[in-house]
Assembly symmetry: C2
Homo-oligomer: 309 residues x 2
Amino acid sequence: MSNDNTVLIVGSVALDSVETPAGRVERALGGAAVYSSVAASFFAPVRLVGVVGEDFPKEHLEFLESRGIDTRGLEVVPDGKTFHWKGAYRDDLNQAETIATELNVFQSFKPKLPEDYRDSQFVFLANIDPDLQLDVLDQVRRPKLTACDTMNFWIAGKKAALLEVLRRVDVAFMNDAEARQLTGESNLNRAANEIHRLGPKYVVVKKGEHGAVMYCDQSMCFTAASYPLFDVVDPTGAGDSFAGGFMGYIARIGEVNETNLRRAVIYGSTLASFDVQDFSLNRFKHLTMKEINGRYEEFRQIVSFEPLQ
Amino acid sequence: MSNDNTVLIVGSVALDSVETPAGRVERALGGAAVYSSVAASFFAPVRLVGVVGEDFPKEHLEFLESRGIDTRGLEVVPDGKTFHWKGAYRDDLNQAETIATELNVFQSFKPKLPEDYRDSQFVFLANIDPDLQLDVLDQVRRPKLTACDTMNFWIAGKKAALLEVLRRVDVAFMNDAEARQLTGESNLNRAANEIHRLGPKYVVVKKGEHGAVMYCDQSMCFTAASYPLFDVVDPTGAGDSFAGGFMGYIARIGEVNETNLRRAVIYGSTLASFDVQDFSLNRFKHLTMKEINGRYEEFRQIVSFEPLQ
């Protein structure tokens, strides 16, 4: 397989127990690297780097492979137990409440890239310990585009390593609360500008039900609506699906410029909007490119207006 | 003056004492009807209905008249004191904290429309007691478009009258918290849909720093970004300026259809974005149509992306 348009994704592979007002699932497929890999797989070949225990159901592995995801980089720890996250969303679907985090095999994870992964051109460092994100950056050779995501836990506990990651990536994905937490700026435009100055050429702030905003060259250049959903079943993985759709689309097109990045934001928003319509990755199991492109066009319709008369 | 494209606006005229992280003003010009009238005046002639006391500074009256606003409907109560609102915005500029509300002459206000006001074609019922909004609806003859705004206080305390207003207007403006409060729906799309069913053909939900959304015919039809501001000086009047810009533009164009309503939402967003860049109505005092149209085009640029390839 050519390295030209392959997306390398490293991050958590998990079993999630999630409760929302719409219902619950127990030990369903989850994890940042899984959501982003499957979302990216609609556009480009994906290589996954992560770790699971021997308890990781074979059907999940088969699902990933059925999506064209290369799982040679997915380490299986003999006798190990897979990372398990237990959480709940109450009335405010923008806010997850963590009930339990069992790191298990994730605790001693050291990403080791298979040799041919090291030439991957598009690299997405999904949410994991920034020290591990740096490990991966050390192992890849000359990527065309690198991107990272993170979370409040690392901003609070591993800020120095995270700042080093930000110095080295092209794109930083973050949600609005994280952008504010990292910078101490309550104005989101100022916060994004500050992150921009830390290194990334592009800062993409995910705002959940309020859409997403991209900053290029120290100013806000693009804003995407959120798709108007009447029923959000499970918000888990929305941000990861966003990043995966974004990276997959850019890898497919191959050329990193603002026109394509705007489209990538819309494809990211599209994948996120499908993700939340069912638990776990269930919606992706029967999602088609026709549906994706249909929603892409809907995103155009809901923001279109006539120029000045 | 022809009634064809005149906007009739009724609501509060106030003196505001406001503190924000950027500074403070004492007894500055304010009130929902003032913000919306001045915003509308950039597009169409405006007739103002409200009440002030004898203490209302002459310079404010002169400013309104300099904007082409007909103030014959602004009652001056001899020996009365003008409505005074005292509020503060802390770090979260989306949330006003009311320190004092002195209703004064507003307490016994009964809107009385001058005879020639009654044929106004575009009617905006800014935030006041819904019973007074109904009074005004009873006094106008055959308006082409009616719209209302409201606030949490009336939703909690005068719901029946407010529901009657909603049954009788074409457009309901509301912020996201109010839409949720009125309907008990936490999903904003469901909330707006519910309000739609209460009567208004168009529901426009203002989301502050997250832009605005319009619902037509029971589904979300249009979403506008918020303008990326790095310095918000004073959020007071943003929602009123939005509604005023919206109504003024529709009145100027004269034809109520979805194409024009989308543009109206953008002009509303534009006026709101200028309003918050200074205290009171100060930014409007030196605002030009060239600046307004420039920002309108910026709103297009920040949401534009290419169609499917």
